[in-house]
Symmetry: C3
């Protein structure tokens, strides 16, 4: 079950991960992007296997967001995390751009992230975050605030490595003190697991 | 953060609210509409700031429902609450009409309302209620029964005033004994809040 | 309220139920279909009223899955249960085929099934299961594993008989020791209920 749907297996454990900030103000330089660094900090804590970030910053324009997602997927990203642009306001178009770039949608991610955020604030229902598959990449929309980003990723990250297995990406390991990644027994590859027991 | 996405602020506190009953039988006069008055009664209990209702009644025909939503939004409604037409039956088309009228959808409302209704009846999963933005209006689908209407609005109304802020509408205050509206600290406007402490 | 939306009532209590396995490997004969028999076993335990199964097996090709759903609905099925093809992998297209075959979608089913599956495994959010109405049939996507099939059906089956009432299908009764079907008081038909109290 670690095989992708075409029957091939990806034995790599190195992940290229796209971090896409969607913000008019950050892209104009009106203020510093905090969402992108928030995502990077989360991944640094949580991932045990090797990874490299590819970072992009675009304004809240649907064609630019869609194109950025497609470019990151074409560059070989197995995971693309967006931050910003998921609210109800006129300029918030990240979910529409995500749906346009993706060939299939994963509604369970949005449901789980809103359920988690609802424990913090009742306005969590205003988030239109979604997730989907663009070529070989799992795309997940995240909020703009680093604290909310961590809440949302904590709610879904246990499922991310196996999802990446299923779409033919590298075998990702997590630091178990932060996130225990779940794979069916048949999908666990001890030879590819990066141990995180430091002693 | 009380500013709409175009940077303007709406300093009004008066809300025009559309109440749209969707029912073949009520529109033919076969029986009296109970959903519309149920919504009005709820708003009378919950809203502390000024508001006016604009009431419409249409049959379960998708083009008529869609047109009624668009007309209420064009008339300046910041909130449009529909009742009826959200089930699985052939004539139930309110969610499709809502999606057709709206430029963006807010799936978190339907999720939260179904989760709340599930505590009352297992058939809550049959409701296809959704929400979205049509021009400057937040549109929310509600069930037909006054009791179910109140259950659903109780589940989401804390997020409604801030959503209306974000789409450029008036600053709405609620009676805190019924609903405590949530806004981020930066979005609270004490000068616009209507106090509801009577003693 | 047992009447369908066109005002007619279906006084039949015999249900034709489609069981559709979607699997490249089972359709090639690479392994034995376990999902279809899992669904049949569940229905044998749970249904008290008469029913007949119509079984189909197709590969993970969207046009074939869509056509199979349409054919089962045209054959008079009031309920079509699919198994397989709901994950994020390239070949998983059952939700897209379901949406293409259905005139209206019921997002509450997918939400409730994912919420139930999440109690077992965090990767439940990867399931893209949905439900909808195709002509006179309620179509529900289920996972591939018999254990997961039962978990998902347990989460939604109490709402299935009333949904079938609402779309004009036969009056279905369940074995109350397994599933207590819920209908509003006005929709209960004691004359059509099949008693399941054996002693």
């Amino acid at each position: 079950m670690t095989s992708a749907s075409d029957g091939t297996q990806n034995l790599s454990t190195h992940a290229l991960i796209g971090i896409l900030t969607v913000s008019d103000r950050a892209s104009r330089g009106d203020y510093e992007d905090r969402g992108g660094p928030g995502i990077r900090g989360y991944l640094e804590r949580v991932l045990a296997s090797d990874w490299t970030a590819q970072v992009e910053l675009v304004p809240d324009e649907q064609p630019e967001v869609e194109q950025a997602i497609r470019s990151l997927a074409a560059a070989g990203c197995c995971l693309i995390l967006t931050t910003g642009g998921t609210g109800p306001a006129l300029r918030d178009v990240t979910p529409e751009a995500t749906a346009a770039a993706c060939s299939k949608m994963l509604p369970g991610f949005g449901e789980a992230m809103r359920t988690a955020s609802l424990k913090a604030v009742p306005t969590a229902i205003l988030s239109r975050q979604t997730a989907g598959i663009c070529e070989g990449a799992l795309v997940i929309n995240l909020p703009g605030q680093p604290k909310a980003i961590a809440e949302c990723l904590d709610a879904v990250f246990a499922a991310v490595p196996y999802c990446i297995d299923l779409i033919g990406g590298p075998y990702i390991s997590t630091n178990a003190e932060h996130i225990v990644a779940f794979r069916p027994a048949s999908a666990v590859r001890p030879d590819l697991e990066v141990s995180t027991n430091a002693g």
